[in-house]
Structures are given as structure tokens and as C-alpha cells.
Symmetry: C2
Amino acid sequence: MATEHSDPLTLEVVGLIGTVVARYYEEYDHAAAEHSLTGAQARVLALLSIRPMPMRRIAQKLKCEPSNVTGIVDRLETRGLVERRPDPSDRRVKLAAPTEKGRQTARQLRDGLNFAREPLADLSVEERTVLRDLLRRMLGDDAEE
Amino acid sequence: MATEHSDPLTLEVVGLIGTVVARYYEEYDHAAAEHSLTGAQARVLALLSIRPMPMRRIAQKLKCEPSNVTGIVDRLETRGLVERRPDPSDRRVKLAAPTEKGRQTARQLRDGLNFAREPLADLSVEERTVLRDLLRRMLGDDAEE
DNA sequence: TATTGTTATACTCTATAACTATA
DNA sequence: TATAGTTATAGAGTATAACAATA
């Protein structure tokens, strides 16, 4: 409560995190664009390549309304990257799943993300460990997601 | 070049950064929505509250096409948060500047961003210093922006 | 009745291209 | 000619509300 939040050190850290965020998004969108995918499409494809899931679940993951997912999956389906399957246990549900081409694209997308490389490559294993522990502390329970 | 990037430690750090990014955007959009602003509008307003600038410069900062800035500033202007002023030294240029109401909104927006608080409050000054130095190293020259 | 996914609608952001007024 | 800003257009993401099929 009485903690000071506007000291120069805290402000600089916040600023640095902002730069990290900007760089992260920039690289993600760039990697997606190389496959002619928008950021949202790439996120859904990446999500489904981990595990197929109902439309509703995708909306929860994206923190958006379910009606939006229809269009995003439509566009991925048109390009043959994703398909809709019936759920045997509940006929209301449609399971979105990547096709083989979709899985391949997701893999290339992941490999194309060099955010993991350049920036972290400059840090030693010890430094990365310290960074990991600080980020874990910063994020609290969220880090387990 | 020969650096290993897929070791568990690096992957975990990348994952944690992804969580930071998600949390950052979530809080930013939430703070903006409390003032009925979109993310883009809030970003432009925050930018102008630092310093008025030509439309073209805003586009560079947002990394988008100049034509998009017209609409974003239009909507901010309609709400009385921003105004366009002529540039005495070049009559082609329009300087976008926040109104008093705009400056006030930008200030409230900044105060509403508790990303700086909760997460970093758990870290000591020493830990924040270590985090700052690691982030600086990670970002290289970009950190000076 | 409640839930899943969809459709319809409207708004915002985005890039592209063409236009205007200045330089 | 080149540049700053705008307009026009089209595609994509977003929320809201209403709908059909299923539970």
C-alpha cells in the first residue's frame, strides 16, 4: 500500500518491460506475416497445434467473444490449415483441429520466432536462471499457467 | 550461431516473458477501456501527452501507415481529447496535441496502470536492479529508445 | 431452460492507392 | 518533384444481440 511506485528504478524497469512487449509483438507479427497469417490467426493455429479444442475454449483462451472465433477459424479452414470435427460426446460442440499442413505451418512459425534466440543468447546460464526466478516472483501464481 | 536455444531453461524464460506480455496488454486494454478508449487511441493519447507531434511522426511511433492515424486522431478529437494545430514552420504539417481534458485523461490512464505496482512491488530494490540490468543486456541498444 | 456455435450488425484498426496542398 | 495529410476502399478483429441445434 505504502510502497513507492514512481521511483526512477521502478519506472525504468516498467519502461524496459514495455520495450520487451513491443519487441515480442513485433517479432510475432513478423513471423506470422511470413506465412500470410494475422496475429490472431497465428495464435489460434499455435493453440490448436498443442491440442484440438472446442470453439468456445478458443474464445476463452483468446479472451474474446465466441462469435469472433467463427471468422478466424473460417479463414484458417479456407486455407486448409484447420478443420472442424464433430465431438462424439456432445453434438453441439465442434472441435477445431489443425490439418497436417496446419501442424507444419505452426512448427515453422515456432522456429521462425527468434525472440528466444538473439535476446537471451547474450545471457549466461546463471543470468538466465536469475531472470527466470525474478520473472516467476513477479508473476506469482500466473507463472504456472 | 551454435548457441542452444531449446533448452528447458531458455524455453521457460521465453514462456514467462510471454506471460508478462499477455498481462501487460490485458492491463493496458483494461485501463484504456475504463476511459472508453481503444488500445490504439490510448497509445496515441499517451504519446501526445509526452510531446505534441506531426501526424507522420505518430505513424512512425505506432509502426503503422500514416492514413490510419487520421482516423485515430479524428476520434480523439471528436471526444475533445486532442486537437490539431498548424505548424508555423511548414504549412503542410499538422501538429496533434492533447487538450487539457486529454492531458487529464492521459494522467488517469497512467495512474490506472497497476502493472508497475503489484508485480514489481514483490521485488526488493536490489532485485529490481538486477532485473533492470538483465533486461538492459537482453535488449541491447533498444533499451536506450 | 441452458449451452454451443453461428449469423447479422456496427465499429475500429489496418494497408493500399489516389488525391490536395504545400514545399 | 517530393512530402504531409487526407480520402476511399477493402479486409480483419472486436462486441452485441438474436438465432438454430442440441443438451
